[in-house]
């Protein structure tokens, strides 16, 4: 990965999806100075129903790619798009790929309406509350531990200029006292669906010198700083809640994806310095600690205030907001920026991070993606 840009997340504007996408794509191309005539693939991650999105965007930014298409996999569309681009490059079909995430706040992706096992309770907050209640009952995690996740992420979001909640500050008591949506899930433990855009550039490792020479010849003060994608893991165990609930607390998709990624990268959880964990609800971050191997099964609650790994330094999904198809890409951009030493976000680490991990889920954890990145 040689460049990444995330633009401000907003509650909602009257912009169309193309112009939302262009905000980050154009900034990325200008900031990196990457030669557009060498972009082989344009992949758009979005739950928007707009037709032919990637080709329209490619045309506007002056790119004529070999491969151009959209990816929609609900909340882990972004990491799916990254994996697709990685695969094209690794196979030799492409040498470079521009990946753009874009979403409007009224996206169709915010509710998975065709899972009949959820009945009338098809909004994500229902399965979020079920997961929280089960974890508390089965493992004894406390309200304070779980709600502290939201507090931590709101605090970190305050120093993220792109976060939708950057002006909000909450303390533990406020989260605990916030409106109960479905017992025991509270309002301030939930993310907000919003509008946003984030883009990244991937290139083939062996072509780095070639592309770098093309940039310095075009534009000064632009640079490519490489971050390697060392490990990829993806697993989709099912689509319905009925089939998900039996394994989400055992060998679920996210846990399996993490194992695949660690194996490919030849590292273990103790090697990870920074992590972006999918915290659409605070309980998901606790499950993420466990699935990524940072804490043993059931002990995620005790890992909340640790200092070994920097978690969700941009403020997580709770702090930043959740533009569905953008989230996975924005998570990767955050890891990229932390690994290359860019300023901006909180990090509890007292060392320069070397290895980062992205954990991105979809539809009650029925699908999980894990990426491992290394500077």
């Amino acid at each position: 990965m040689v460049g990444g840009v995330t633009c401000e997340f907003r509650k909602g504007t009257d912009r169309d999806i193309v112009h939302i996408a262009l905000e980050s794509a154009l900034k990325l191309l200008k900031d990196t100075g990457f030669p557009r005539n060498f972009i082989d693939a344009v992949i758009v991650s979005s739950c928007s129903p707009d037709q032919y999105l990637s080709s329209i965007i490619a045309e506007i930014v002056g790119v004529k790619p070999k491969i151009s298409h959209r990816i929609d996999n609900l909340c882990n569309s972004g990491t799916n798009a990254i994996i697709s681009a990685f695969s094209y490059i690794a196979s030799g079909l492409c040498d470079s790929a521009l990946i753009i995430g874009a979403e409007k706040s009224n996206t169709l992706g915010k509710v998975f309406s065709t899972d009949f096992s959820r009945g009338q309770y098809n909004h994500p907050i229902f399965w979020g509350s079920i997961f929280k209640k089960i974890h508390m009952k089965k493992y004894g995690s406390t309200e304070e531990q779980i709600c502290q996740i939201a507090v931590n992420n709101y605090i970190k979001a305050r120093s993220n200029k792109n976060a939708i909640n950057r002006s909000n500050s909450v303390n533990l008591q406020q989260v605990l006292n916030s409106r109960v949506l479905i017992e025991p899930l509270k309002l301030l433990e939930c993310c907000s669906i919003c509008e946003g855009s984030s883009s990244i550039l991937l290139i083939a490792d062996e072509k780095f010198s070639f592309f770098k020479s093309k940039i310095t010849s075009n534009k000064r003060n632009c640079e490519l700083i490489p971050v390697l994608i060392k490990g990829i893991g993806q697993q989709t165990n099912c689509a319905s809640f009925s089939n998900a609930i039996t394994d989400i607390f055992a060998e679920g998709s996210a846990r399996m994806a993490a194992q695949q990624a660690y194996k490919m990268a030849r590292i273990s959880p103790k090697d990870v310095d920074i992590a972006e964990i999918h915290d659409a609800f605070s309980i998901l971050e606790i499950l993420g600690y466990e699935d990524l191997g940072f804490a043993n099964k059931g002990e995620g609650g005790t890992f909340v205030n640790q200092n070994k790994i920097s978690i969700n330094s941009r403020g997580g999904i709770i702090g930043c907001g959740h533009p569905i198809g953008v989230t996975g890409i924005a998570q990767a951009v955050e890891i990229f920026e932390q690994l290359v030493g860019k300023q901006g976000h909180n990090s509890k680490l007292n060392r320069s991070p070397n290895v980062g991990i992205v954990h991105n889920l979809a539809a009650a954890g029925t699908s999980g993606t894990v990426l491992i990145m290394e500077s």
Binding site: S113, D115, F116, S117, R118, G119, Q120, Y121, N122, H123, I125, F126, S129, I130, K133, I134, R179, V180, L181, I182, E183, P184, A239, S240, F241, S242, N243, I245, T246
Partner: protein, 132 residues
């Protein structure tokens, strides 16, 4: 082939039939005779062996409450609670009337479908507690 023919595919698939039955208040689920299992989601083929599935009436089938939650988010009847039910090998989220007989611990209690249908274009499953 006559391209002017309308409704070329008149045979409904199991998902469409499942929805049709639910709209009529009938609760059916797909069953695989080879695997001897209830299969989810409603489909024409078993996801385990790919054999054809038949639809079975599960109206009086008993399930067990795995979990319950108080829903303060929906604009539904405040006297219902949300329950997670295991019915055969399927897990469904449905509702249960809250009254004096089911206040307190209701996990593990046996239930069956009392009513099902569509409300605001969403399927609903409303259960009732049954004695053994």
């Amino acid at each position: 082939m006559n391209l002017n023919q309308k409704n070329l595919y008149t045979k409904k698939n199991n998902q469409q039939k499942f929805i049709q039955y639910i709209k009529k208040g009938k609760f059916v689920l797909p069953y695989c005779k080879k695997c001897r299992k209830t299969i989810w989601p409603p489909a024409d083929n078993c996801r385990l062996c790919l054999n054809n599935l038949s639809l079975k009436d599960y109206k009086n089938k008993k399930g067990k409450i795995l979990e319950f939650l108080l829903d303060k988010f929906s604009n539904n009847n405040a006297n219902t609670i949300m329950i997670v039910v295991k019915l055969d090998q399927i897990i469904l989220i449905g509702s249960l009337d809250q009254d004096k007989t089911n206040k307190g611990k209701i996990e593990g209690k046996k239930v069956r479908i009392k009513k099902c249908g569509f409300i605001d274009q969403k399927i609903f499953y409303h259960f009732e507690i049954v004695n053994n």
